[in-house]
């Protein structure tokens, strides 16, 4: 039986070996490219935002294509032929099964065999490839991508983009851009149980505790709340949501360094007062037997089973799992209803956490620069991924054939085309049969663009969330290659200790009177040195990049 060896997994792992700090240019120079006169074959002489891109000669580009199991790659998709018709560009896919995309990408890049266009890359995975010179600093070429530039400025994404910059001030990933922060994960609650007990949907974590207590009184031999998504981060979503409400970072959002706006510097997350307060809150839930002790270690299926058989009433969810998993799971329980509630707030009040509005994006191989068609390729990518027309095409297809309407008036799928239950009578599927709405090409976008795919329920959720004030992002603090190598080992040791002790504190295996001993243990693991390193990097970046 094939077992993944450590080396094989490492090859698929992500990043950091960021480039050395070069003398940074100011950012007003950004995007001004060097002489590209030899690379303009096939490019449009004047290409601006909002224009349809069309190569002047027929071109073809190799691209790494993630083949999702839900809609596996088909060579005869309408998407391909229509794309060629509109842009005069044919894409040659290197097909990679979605189950192990990261690993194959890593091997192909490291082995020098990667195609020119490499999409579906999440930050900071691209950092591993920078020092070896495998990918282009795309920030140098944004002058050739008018739609991208326009979206950055219209939606005010400069701070988000800064977080993607390396110590040399450049960014190497062309990210997906969102107009608004898009938060999807939250908590699902059995509303019929709330109704039976005469309770309202909780809005703060304290109210949640009250609700759970009432549930426990009515159902003494179960734990009202359980959770899933524990691998590889225990309590990934639970702690993530909670930490945002308390003003720290935990779960999926955990970083060793948290930005403290009042102090104007970074502090260590695991020893912060809000972090402790958060752990104390969870410990109360455990002690009062409101939260399942297996919450942080069980597998997803076990959590779902508890929810499905009525042994738990509150659990983490996102829009997809709510509709496709939780609602279906409780279908046989008479009268059971479940709803995804807006994220609970805590001591910080009615705010939304600082989340980047950027998401996964495209890498460009360094070899592309040698190609005669380099400029055309960038224009093509700009059109497909960042122009309104390109995005609409990638998501919904051809007006009249696969859909009618537009983003303002609403998109309606063609009569025999179905996607996600929007058109149940449709015999063909937008993704499977036509190749549109493919995660490799259609993502990010304006709020209207996103809303076109949301259910009414989800739109209401987003409305509530968007009404909250968004906290500012922490400032960038990139490390250089040497710092990164040492920092990695420190970070792992610190993060391991924090996660391990957090669980012990929560589960009551360690009393909170031990908190100072715990902080000293962290000092013994180089906590102070690490935070100093981060603050130094922050100061350095601030000085050179303004």
């Amino acid at each position: 039986m094939d077992q993944l060896s450590r080396r094989q997994l490492l090859a698929g792992a992500g990043a950091a070996a960021a480039a050395m700090a070069l003398a940074a240019c100011g950012q007003d120079d950004e995007g001004k490219t060097d002489d590209l006169s030899g690379n303009r074959d096939g490019a449009m002489a004047s290409y601006g935002a909002g224009e349809q891109f069309r190569a002047t000669t027929a071109l073809s580009f190799p691209i790494m294509l993630l083949s999702s199991a839900s809609y596996p790659y088909k060579a005869d998709w309408l998407f391909w032929s229509e794309l060629t018709k509109r842009t005069n560009v044919t894409l040659e896919p290197v097909v990679v099964p979605g189950s192990d995309y990261n690993q194959k990408r890593s091997v192909m890049i490291s082995g020098g065999a990667a195609p020119l266009i490499i999409p579906k890359t999440y930050h900071p995975d691209e950092e591993a490839y920078i020092a070896g010179g495998a990918i282009l600093p795309v920030s140098d070429y944004t002058e050739l991508m008018p739609n991208f530039k326009q979206q950055i400025s219209t939606w005010n994404l400069k701070n988000d983009l800064d977080a993607y910059r390396q110590a040399d001030g450049k960014f190497y990933l062309l990210p997906g851009l969102h107009e608004d922060v898009w938060l999807d994960y939250s908590i699902a609650v059995r509303t019929d149980v709330l109704q039976q007990l005469g309770l309202q949907i909780p809005q703060t974590y304290d109210e949640l505790a009250t609700v759970l207590r009432a549930m426990k009184t009515a159902h003494p031999d179960i734990y009202p709340m359980t959770d899933r998504w524990n691998n590889p981060t225990p309590g990934g979503n639970l702690l993530g949501n909670l930490s945002a409400a308390y003003g720290t970072l935990a779960g999926w959002d955990y970083q060793n360094a948290t930005w403290d706006p009042t102090a104007g510097k970074f502090v260590f997350t695991g020893s912060m007062a809000p972090f402790k307060a958060m752990l104390q809150y969870l410990n109360t839930l455990i002690t009062d037997k409101l939260l399942d002790p297996e919450t942080f270690t069980q597998q997803d299926d076990a959590a779902r089973q508890k929810f499905a058989s009525g042994k738990a009433f509150v659990m983490s969810c996102n829009a997809q799992t709510l509709v496709n998993e939780l609602r279906k799971d409780i279908a046989k329980i008479p009268g059971a209803t479940v709803v995804k509630i807006p994220r609970l707030t805590g001591p910080l009040g009615n705010v939304k956490q600082a989340t980047s509005r950027l998401e996964n994006g495209v890498l460009i191989s360094r070899k592309a620069k040698d190609s005669k068609n380099f400029v055309a390729m960038l224009q093509f990518i700009d059109w497909l991924y960042y122009s309104d027309a390109g995005k609409l095409f990638a998501k919904w297809g051809i007006e009249g054939t696969t859909y009618t309407g537009n983003l303002d008036s609403g998109i309606k799928l063609a009569p025999d085309v179905n996607w996600g239950g929007l058109n149940p009578t449709g015999t063909k599927n937008l993704q499977v049969d036509y190749g549109f709405f493919n995660g490799v090409f259609a993502y990010g976008g304006s709020t209207k663009y996103l809303n076109s795919q949301f259910t009414t329920e989800e739109r209401k959720f987003q409305e509530v969330m968007n009404a909250r004030k968004t906290l500012p992002l922490p400032p960038a603090h990139p490390l250089n290659a040497d710092e990164r190598e040492q920092a990695t080992l420190w970070e792992t040791a610190l993060k391991d200790h924090v996660t391990q002790q957090s669980l012990k504190f929560i589960l009551g295996q360690r009393p909170f009177t031990d908190w100072d001993t715990y902080t000293n243990e962290l000092k013994g693991k180089n906590m102070t040195q690490y935070i100093d390193l981060v603050n130094k990097a922050y100061e350095r970046f601030k000085k050179s990049n303004g």
Binding site: R6, L9, G111, G132, E485, T492
Partner: protein, 327 residues
């Protein structure tokens, strides 16, 4: 001149004699003689040797990145010499030594249990008189080998959950439920048990094949000497499969540090890191942030040296005691 023709012909009646002339004792063998005499044998070895050289030894050069800084996308042989930098990096990392210890403990326990049990099971299966029953039992016991590691982990979780079978049993005898998956003390037992369960059936296949080669006459002779079932097993069966056993033992000892990465990754969590975290999972967590191939290569070489040393030692012991050797 063919040395083989010098030997006394073996035929009926000549077997018990000590061979008259030295048969295959080398007489100042030089390579030329050897090649001439055994060219057919060497010809059989040509293709396999080519395989080893091309597909095994050639890529080994890549290990040089343990001593050079490697950047993904740059030269696969690394950029600059850094000497023992990465070795020093992991030697001075206290977490590394902790996970190294865990790897040793889990690895040795696995060998300790997973090596003898297939032998025992093979012997027991051998005692089933009814042929079809023996075949049925044997076919069933190898099934767990085919379960993917994900499924096995799911089974382990299910069985050991707070309301799983084991805790239900504990409840019957009045014991409080134990959260097995959250306690570092239980991890080794859990891991080794699941390994035994998965491998014992498949492991018997090899021994059953080896058992077929034991001469029936030896059993007959033992029975005539009045040996019961135990004596037969001890004096006939076990010695008969000893070469296979010893070879497998040497190989298992040599590779004992290759603890199943995927399985540990699925079964562990931060609460059990103290005993569950092994070298491969630790590197995975470190690697997720840094992608440091050089660091991994340095550790890999370290493990390789240990493994090779163990094989040589075990082989020497085996040669001295029972005469089986890889060489």
């Amino acid at each position: 001149m063919d040395a083989l023709t010098r030997q006394a012909p073996v035929g009926a009646g000549s077997a018990p004699e000590a061979p008259a002339a030295p048969r295959l004792v080398p007489r100042r063998r030089t390579w030329r003689r050897a090649l001439r005499r055994d060219w057919q044998l060497y010809s059989l070895a040509v293709l396999p040797l080519m395989f080893f050289v091309v597909f095994r030894y050639l890529p080994m050069v890549g290990n040089v990145i343990a001593f050079r800084r490697f950047r993904p996308g740059g030269s696969i042989f690394g950029e600059t010499w850094v000497g023992l930098r990465y070795v020093r990096l992991f030697v001075s990392d206290p977490t590394f030594w902790q996970v190294f210890g865990n790897t040793l403990k889990i690895g040795s326990l696995t060998v300790l249990f997973c090596f003898p049990l297939p032998v025992v099971l093979a012997l027991l299966l051998n005692e089933i008189r009814t042929r079809w029953l023996q075949r049925f039992v044997q076919s069933v016991t190898y099934l767990p080998h085919f379960l993917s590691v994900v499924v096995v982990a799911a089974i382990v979780f299910q069985v050991l959950s707070l309301d799983g079978v084991v805790n239900q049993g504990l409840a019957v005898v009045g014991h409080a439920a134990v959260p097995f998956m959250q306690q570092p003390g239980w991890f080794r037992a859990i891991y080794v048990s699941s390994e035994v369960w998965q491998t014992v059936g498949w492991g018997t296949i090899l021994y059953l094949a080896a058992l077929t080669t034991i001469d029936e006459d030896l059993y007959e002779a033992a029975r005539l000497d009045g040996a019961g079932r135990w004596r037969q097993a001890w004096h006939v069966t076990l010695p008969g499969i000893r070469p296979t056993m010893m070879t497998l033992l040497i190989l298992n000892v040599g590779t004992f540090m290759a603890v199943g990465f995927e399985k540990v990754l699925l079964l562990y969590n931060p609460l059990t890191y103290p005993s569950a975290d092994v070298i491969s999972t630790y590197l995975y967590r470190v690697g997720v942030v840094s992608g440091s191939f050089s660091y991994a290569a340095a550790i890999g070489l370290f493990e390789s040296v240990i493994g090779l040393t163990l094989v040589l030692v075990t082989n020497a012991i085996s040669r001295r005691t029972v005469g089986t050797s890889l060489w």
